[in-house]
Symmetry: C2
Subunit: 320 residues, 2 copies
């Protein structure tokens, strides 16, 4: 098993340069006053496709052979990776089939189709998306690009933290959301190399805290279709690459309940004027909840995405 390393993140940074956005690093005097820390928000909600996922998707797709490109790719995703593969495939002119759950936020499905991806829906409760993806790959000669457990995906996702530390300098803490662990492990690889003293904290929704339990027990734990507003972090478990990477590079893991997550998300909307989706606010929620000693420290927070379905707002407002 070849785990990606910092040189792969460096290589990914060169691969995506000029295609992915080098996203804004936002600061807020209000947040700094509230926390006593110096906080830097890496705004991956402003990334192409509305989430960090474009980094890994483009890194992976742009490294395919001419023959693989011609035949096309298939992936499975609850949303943002789907959009990212659809968009990266559009940029690179690669046919792409996206296996999405039938209950994915409609805004993510519409955006995926808008980028020209062929969408295949499945029932999250009764069907296995990986099996569907593998079958499509076999039957149609497509290359399977999984959402996180892939070296080029992980290395690509690590470029966000790489840019952040390159821009603002060393950090004492770095908070990143954790679904399947692609962003988290990529971020941790980058932080370890560029800011060795940085504590990297992975954050999950409380209802889907499999990675927290895997981290604590050092044994892979799973969760089945957790009910949480963090639709990007409903993944069943860490992967065969991301689990060892998380164990090796991540300093700690924590979880956040949905009301706290929504409260934080709306706080970011109101104070930073940035639309962040629930999953995208996981890192901020953990950083702001007072359970880590960030006072006086330099803190990076990855706002991982901003693809919200505004139709859900009234419900979210009621639940916070």
């Amino acid at each position: 098993m070849n785990l990606p390393a910092f040189e792969d993140v460096d290589s990914a940074a060169r691969q995506i340069a000029g295609v992915a956005h080098r996203t804004l690093v936002a600061t807020s005097r209000t947040v700094d006053a509230r926390t006593g820390a110096t906080v830097f928000f890496k705004c991956e909600n402003l990334q192409r496709g509305g989430a960090f996922k474009f980094r890994g998707a483009y890194n992976a797709l742009s490294r395919l052979t001419a023959d693989e490109r011609r035949r096309g790719v298939v992936t499975f995703s609850s949303g943002n990776h789907a959009q990212a593969i659809a968009l990266a495939g559009q940029v690179l002119n690669i046919p792409r089939v996206i296996v999405m759950p039938s209950d994915a936020p409609s805004v993510k499905r519409v955006a995926t189709e808008g980028y020209g991806g062929e969408v295949v829906l499945y029932d999250r409760d009764t069907e296995d998306r990986e099996a569907i993806g593998r079958r499509l790959a076999r039957d149609r000669g497509l290359t399977l690009i999984p959402p996180y457990d892939h070296p080029h995906i992980i290395a690509g996702q690590g470029t966000a933290a790489r840019e952040l530390i390159e821009e603002v300098g060393a950090l004492d803490f770095l908070f990143a959301p954790c679904g399947g662990g692609g962003l988290l492990s990529g971020s941790a690889i980058a932080a370890r190399a560029m800011a060795p003293g940085c504590m990297v904290i992975g954050v999950e929704p409380a209802a889907g805290d499999d990675a927290v339990r895997s981290f604590r027990t050092k044994t892979l734990q799973t969760v089945k279709n957790p009910k949480t507003v963090a639709d990007g972090a409903r993944t069943p478990s860490l992967g065969s690459l991301t689990f060892p990477l998380v164990l090796q590079y991540v300093s700690d893991m924590t979880s956040v309940d949905d009301p706290t997550l929504l409260e934080t998300m709306f706080y970011l909307w109101e104070r930073l004027k940035l639309v962040v989706e629930p999953t995208g606010a996981l890192g901020a929620a953990a950083a702001l909840d007072g359970s880590f000693p960030i006072r006086g420290k330099r803190v990076g927070i990855i706002l991982s995405g901003g693809n919200v379905d505004l139709a859900q707002l009234p419900e979210w407002i009621g639940r916070r």
Copy 2:
């Protein structure tokens, strides 16, 4: 009457440098594809205090004499100018009294008090905020800093367009919201000097289209407490400085109805991931509605503010 000129905008730019944010210029391939234009959004929702108003407020307050600073200032505002004066006064350690309508969005009132401003409420339907402001100025020796009809305010507001054109180069169109005309006239002064061929378009809410009518008739028109979601543009009329400036420098004026405005605002939230308030979306609404020949052109749009009260969201979603 001394109308501000481009040299005053230049001077304001130096005055606010390092204190006001040099805000992000956002672009969107989706918006460009929709319009056929190359669109640059100047993100004043990311300005300190959540709106462009900090530019003028800091420019004005920082030019007061030591004696004037010691005695303090008073202003009247529906919201964003109030916050900006409160914040600029905090930065400069100047006492400040803010006369706000009792029905101003609570988020703006809370933020104003949070910045340490003394808030005096008045009834929009029965009281005259200017008279209250003048009385407070006289009784307490305060300097009155009106929200738009003041050379330093206008020059300060012009620095947003100045930065935009400095960063992206000449524009063919520049769309700016119009309430009392401070932002619009400042923007137009900057555009005329830096991009003489640029068409500067002022945009009002349809229910409060006094400036459109003033522009067409060349006679000052007024409106009384118009009902519109664009709470930052409910001003009764252009001012004694902004009216001649608008006539001299602005190319055209137009108005947008509330449903279109809300539709545009949410479009900006969803596609740009930026929280823009209704007033802040006026320029974008006019640029996107197809009534100006922007196809193939380079278009600047000032997103003037992002101070929304999320409690209003369910109502807004229902009305769009």
